[in-house]
Amino acid sequence: MASTQTNVDLTSAPATSASGLLVSLVPLPQEAFDATLSNLALAFPDQTVLVATPDAVPQSSSGSPLRFLPYTLTAVSATPWVLTAADYLNTYKLARENNATACVLLGAEAQSLHPEAIRALARSALESDLTLAHYDLGPREGLVNSAIFYPVTRALYSTRPRFPLAIDISLSIRMAERLATTAQRFTAAGQNDGLLWPLSEAASANFSVAEVSIGTRTLPQPAVPDLNALLAHIASSFFADVDAKASFWQRARGTQPAQSLTQTATIAERPDIASMLDAFRLAYTNLHEIWSLVLPPNSLLGLKKLSVMSPDTFRMPDNLWTRIVYDFILAFRLRTINRGHLLGALTPLYLAWVASHLTLISNGTAPEKHIQDLAVAFETDKPYLVSRWRWPDRFNP
């Protein structure tokens, strides 16, 4: 295993000294900014904390623990709901200039974070190189993360954190430096909005990783809710990162111990999955030819069975979804078809998984249990990905 994980308990002893701590904020509306500053002051009542913010800095009172570091945004982010390359690079630069020893990055809607959660992130930064937030989400939230990012990251990198693309994270200075180096490649190419995958970076550098449960939080949503474009954008970045770190994850061994299940609520009423099933069936009729370039016959047979299932019994087996995701990652690497087309062809399959997941949890299965079962299926099937990655032309029924 490449990294160690710890879960930081919010209820444990108060935070250790946070001197040299830099808290980096993304642009926030005035009201949210004021609320966030109040929470920061509550989180660190007796320690001086550097707060990097692009927003207008208020006059701080002499007794305030917050010391502001205003910075200027070079460009307005097109994806303000996730942390981007520019955020990581900017944070590291400010941390280095001010001799900070640890950094905490808080994403959009940071005002909804509890002061204790911020304190727990800061405390964890002194013990681990990377700490990711663990959110308590509803059964219908963060579905792309549950379907693809979490199980694939856990299987490939043998890491445990549930939200690989968490927007609230804390970093040791060496982790911040590593991420800034990666971020610089994006910003140098004019891609300030490039996405970074801190968990895979930490795992491949053998840095320690921790996860902090911060409870509920208002998660920012994309301004334009176009699932096709967003899924293609983020999955493309994720698959490219998997491709770039192939030499590491092919060696990474071991599975993670079972995670204690958080009690996410089940769905009381039956979900409306008709539109998702329609989208899948329409795609099955029209995209079969394209899928057949990417998926082996066995998976195509599984999809054929799915296409004739009734909504009440609609269930995509975990191993089928696992194979689909792995085969799409392989096709992305091999450029079997144009990558834009490939990711476009993934959307209806993802919707079929969502429909299956919602049907399952409406029948009484705990949402988190299904996600953990899925993650285990990805771990079990990892040898398939490794084998096909190394010998893509080998016979594959």
């Binding site: 709901w81 509803g138 219908r140 939230e141 963060g142 579905l143 792309v144 993360n145 490649r185 994006f186 140098a188 190419a189 891609q191 490039g194 998660l219 949503q221 994309p222 699932l227 096709n228 967003l230 899924l231 983020i234 493309s236 970045s237 490219a240 491709d243 770039a244 769905i267 009423e269 979900p271 409306d272 539109s275 329609d278 989208a279 329409l282 795609a283 009729t285 029209n286 995209l287 394209i290 091999l334 450029r335 079997t336 078809i337 144009n338 990558r339 834009g340 087309h341 476009g344 062809a345 959307t347 209806p348 969502v354 919602l358």
Partner: protein
Amino acid sequence: MWQQVELALSQSAHRVLVKLASFLPGLLALLLAVIILAAIGAGVAVLLRRTLTAAKFDERLARNATAVISDWSPANSPTALIARVAFWGCILIGCFIGISAFDAAYPGDSPISNFIIPYLTHSIGAVLLLIAGTVIARFLERSVLIGAVNAKLQYARILSLGIKWLVLVLTAAMVLDHLQIGGAVVELAFGILFGGIVLTLALAVGLGSRDIVSRSLERSADLRSTLDPIPGDPDYKPATPAETLRHF
């Protein structure tokens, strides 16, 4: 009489031999130019492939996330794409050099120089047009098909096939025009075919969208009658499960 016939025959045989003698070196020069440039192209391609592989060009490109080149490389890496472009570029240059050499073997006023050489050059251009047209047609067909399926359009297949044939018909017309075959007949046929496909698509999309438009209008009418009910209002309905689905 027989003497005149013999003389005419020997003169024509002589002319044929002279033409052949002047044709063969030109042809040989063309073939040589193509073969030599193909060999140079193969060498350049191998050299490029090795250099770029050693420099980890693919990995750097992937890391820098400039996906433009890698997106267009069909089934291999960007390195393979660059090597292939270099190889076929050399062959193309060889063709042009060969044709120039072929042309130089004839006096400027000969029919070969005036007609065949330009036609040969046009043929190469036509082949390139055909390849480019076919690739673009296939790319657009898939783009439209996937986009239309994701937009849940029932007529996605018809739309993508229509786009594909529009581009193919346009390519065929351009190729024939480039080769100067058919003249006005091609233009007329192209106009009829192109217009026919557009009309078919318009009808298919128009008829297929009839329900969508009616539903949209009905929704607008419903919205006007029940504008923004608030909680506590008898008409107020809580958000449906589908509305609260969050993928990110």
